[in-house]
């Protein structure tokens, strides 16, 4: 039989990897890509729990769909922002984006 923890552990592992990527990447596009991995991890958890609970309303799957939709929106806006930054500063390095500092 399949255990539930194998799915959750996979989700947790992907989430941690994504977090590592978010923390260590300097290229803004890749930071976004790492965020996508984190979201995919969350989706795996949602769908796995949906199956686990045999939810008649399919809450887990539907929230996974919402997460996908919001992730698509986030990437759209994110890439647009990155393009804007690239146009202004000719770099997409997040280290140079420290305007929030002062």
């Amino acid at each position: 039989m399949m255990t539930i923890i194998q799915w959750i552990l996979l989700g947790a592992a992907l989430f941690s990897v994504g977090l590592y990527g978010v923390l260590t990447r300097r290229n803004a596009v890749l930071v976004l890509a790492s965020v996508e991995i984190m979201l995919a991890a969350v989706n795996i958890n949602l769908v796995a729990f949906d199956t686990y609970l045999s939810d008649p309303a399919y809450t887990g799957q539907i929230f996974a769909l919402f997460v996908i939709a919001l992730a698509a929106a986030e990437v759209g806006v994110g890439i647009a922002i990155i393009l804007m930054i690239f146009r202004n500063r000719h770099s997409v390095d997040v280290d140079e984006l420290d305007l929030m500092r002062y």
Partner: protein, 708 residues
């Protein structure tokens, strides 16, 4: 049908609990007549769009189609009214459009006494106004467009009154709102008219928001958007409805206040006079402003039971009473004839709302019914005058009795009906309101009801006074205008005459104990109405009110009539060339200058200024100016004073300060600076570092949760 039996038994229980004053009308289902009543809202709506697309190419450029549509409504409404009086009709039809969760979204039509009354009024008054508008709007640049939006206006109102549920009601409500916006701003070349349209729309929107909230609260707590469902839940004693009833009822009433221009929301209605006069006539008679009254009447089974609606009806009474008096007072000082009539309408709406508030359901709707006739008549008369003298101002009028006899006599009938002269329409309906209020006041001595009784008698006085003023300044004395006055064409006069007949006789339809047609009419509803019926007219009150009215007319006539000292008398009634100083005199004598009150009234209780300065302008920016002013003059004054004192003290302290105290602060400052620089290193403004820290927090807390 078991369902029907169950409902009847619930109603029976309800009747037992609420005594014999509640009466469930005996009614049939209206048969095919009711089943096809969906045509009433649909035909004008369809025709409105047909006019929009094909109006320019049709005979009479859209007027024909519009009038035909209204004619259809008028005929159908009359047939329904007759059938209702004979058999009684209570029918409701709903077509499911879709579902949101457990809530059904439905389109439907209600055919009962209340909606038939409105169909009849919109149809008949609308038809007459449309006929009139043909001549009035002749030569307008947007003639077809006017009739398209005017038909939409009537159609929206019919959608509203035929609605069996909140969703459709709100759709109709918004249709009326948007078409009124189009119509008020019809002459949009003038910036003032655009402002007026915006003002009407915005003011209504504020109230509409409350209506939405109220409708949502009520529907959610009752579990349905359907009015009949809500009432059924109510009779069953639904608890959630009891809990939220007050707030729902209050919010819905605020919505009604917006459309019916009740006291704090009245500001848009006089400005709405910017639209063409036929629009004003229809808006004030059967459409738009009556929507609020209609809404309260539609929900009357809810408002009549304090165990559900709480003390909302007290609030309704007070608002209505304040409106009826305060707006009547404003009508005294206006120079624009249409504005006088507008404030008069708001005042009469106050009567209706207050009547519904004290539980005088029939009286309120009876007044709505009669008011539709005489107010439409007065507006058409005013339109006829404006058409003739090319001015809205009464200081440009005078002596028109001779030039426009038909207008004069019909206007006089309207005036008599409005002020309540026996046996004209207003006499009966106003008497019934005051009687009902008085009956409630004596049975249930509550401050609000007494307040209303006193105010409505005072209101009757004021009404008589300003109407006497209007008639005197318009039709008597000397003509002061520039244009050559002439009687209006027949197509305008005929509707006025027809309405005059209505205004003269409509009241006879509901003489207590004698005819009571309107009572039967409006109480034909699926849910019983609790109210007191009078077996005969209340002679005692008539004996009070009629002298008050006559006194008002007399004082008005004395002050403004041709024999008064104030009045400018020319050379005996003929048109004269009036010089500028004389014109100034005319304007001054036209206004009744009570020493203290006058500036207040002149400025409309400063409410417009309050809205403008308190709400509108700040949102456009100058709130900063106001803050600056306060800052400069009030806030700064304290420091300035303090500073003056402190300066001398400071000089003395400076010596100590420079040496001992500064040292301390310098050390402190340096420490703070160093700490800040150090901390800044920890937070270098990099997003990733923040993410890392927040996730570290997540890890720590998660670990804590797992451990404990």
């Amino acid at each position: 049908m078991p369902a029907a039996v169950a409902q009847l038994s619930r109603v029976a229980v309800f009747l037992q609990e609420h005594g014999d004053s509640a009466e469930l009308a005996q009614a049939g289902d209206g048969g095919g007549l009711a089943a096809y009543a969906w045509l009433i809202p649909v035909v004008p709506m369809v025709v409105a769009f047909l006019i929009l697309f094909f109006g320019k190419y049709s005979p009479w450029k859209g007027w024909g189609m519009a009038t035909a549509a209204l004619g259809f409504v008028a005929v159908y409404g009359t047939v329904l009214a007759v059938a209702n009086l004979r058999d009684g009709i209570v029918a409701e039809f709903s077509v499911n459009v879709g579902d949101i969760g457990t809530f059904a979204i439905e389109w439907g039509w209600v055919v009962d006494g209340l909606s038939i009354l409105m169909f009849f009024l919109v149809g008949v008054v609308g038809l007459l106004v449309f006929v009139y508008a043909n001549a009035y709007m002749k030569g307008d640049a947007r003639y077809t467009w006017f009739f398209a939006s005017f038909t939409l206006f009537a159609g929206g109102m019919l959608v509203l009154v035929s609605a069996p549920n909140f969703i459709q009601l709100i759709v109709g409500w918004e249709l009326v709102g948007v078409s009124s916006y189009l119509l008020i701003g019809h002459y949009w070349e003038d910036m003032d008219n655009i402002d007026a349209a915006n003002k009407a729309f915005m003011t209504n929107k504020v109230a509409d928001a409350a209506l939405f909230i109220g409708a949502i609260i009520m529907s959610l707590s009752a579990g349905s958007f359907q009015f009949s469902e809500i009432f059924t839940r109510m009779i069953e004693g639904q608890t959630t409805l009891g809990q939220f009833g007050f707030w729902a009822g209050l919010a819905i009433f605020i919505g009604a206040m917006g459309k019916s221009a009740q006291f704090p929301f009245h500001v848009w209605l006089p400005d709405a006079m910017a639209g063409p006069t036929p629009v004003s006539a229809l808006m004030h008679a059967a459409t738009m402003v009556t929507a609020g009254v209609y809404l309260i009447a539609r929900l009357f089974p809810f408002y009549q039971l304090p165990e559900f609606s709480g003390s909302v009806s007290t609030i309704i009474v007070i608002i209505g009473a304040i409106t009826l008096l305060s707006m009547g007072l404003l009508a005294i000082v206006q120079d624009d004839i249409k504005r006088v009539l507008a404030y008069s309408t708001v005042s009469q709406l106050g009567y209706m709302v207050a009547a519904l508030g004290v539980g005088a359901y029939t009286a309120g709707l009876f007044h709505l019914f009669t008011h539709a006739f005489f107010k439409a008549l007065l507006f058409l008369g005013a339109g006829s005058i404006i058409h003739a003298v090319h001015s809205n101002n009464m200081s440009d009028m005078g002596g028109l009795r001779k030039y426009m006899p038909a207008t004069f006599w019909t206007f006089l009938v309207g005036t008599a009906a409005l002020v309540g002269i026996f046996p004209f329409a207003g006499f009966w309906s106003k008497d019934e309101i005051i009687s009902s209020a008085f009956f409630n006041a004596t049975n249930n001595p509550e401050f609000a009801v007494w307040f209303m009784v006193v105010l409505s008698i005072l209101g009757a006085f004021i009404t008589a006074f300003y109407m006497a003023r209007v008639v005197s300044l318009t039709f008597f004395g000397t003509y002061l205008g520039d244009a050559k006055p002439h009687e209006s064409p027949a197509v305008m006069v005929v509707p006025m005459v027809a309405l005059a007949v209505g205004a003269a006789t409509a009241g006879l339809l509901n003489i207590p104990g004698l005819t009571e047609v309107v009572t039967d009419w409006v109480t034909t509803r699926a849910f019983p109405i609790v109210e007191h019926h009078f077996a005969q007219p209340e002679y005692f009150l008539i004996a009070i009110v009629t002298p008050v009215v006559l006194l008002g007319l007399f004082i008005g006539w004395r002050l403004f009539g041709p024999s008064s000292e104030l009045h400018y008398t020319g050379t005996g009634g003929e048109a004269v060339d009036v010089s500028a100083p004389q014109r100034k005199v005319a304007v001054e004598r036209d206004t009744f200058r009570i020493p203290v009150l006058y500036p207040v009234l002149e400025n409309k209780y400063y409410i417009d200024d309050l809205y403008m300065n308190g709400l509108v302008r700040p949102t456009m920016g100058p709130i900063a100016d106001a803050t600056l002013w306060v800052d400069m003059n009030v806030v700064d004054a304290v420091p300035n004073l303090g500073a003056g004192v402190a300066r001398y003290a400071a000089a003395a302290v400076a010596v100590i300060d420079d040496n001992a105290v500064d040292g301390f602060y310098n050390v402190t400052g340096a420490t703070t600076g160093a700490t800040g620089s150090f901390l800044r290193q920890l937070f270098p403004g990099r997003v990733q570092q923040y993410v890392a820290l927040s996730f570290a927090g997540v890890v720590i807390f998660a670990a804590l949760f797992v451990i404990f």
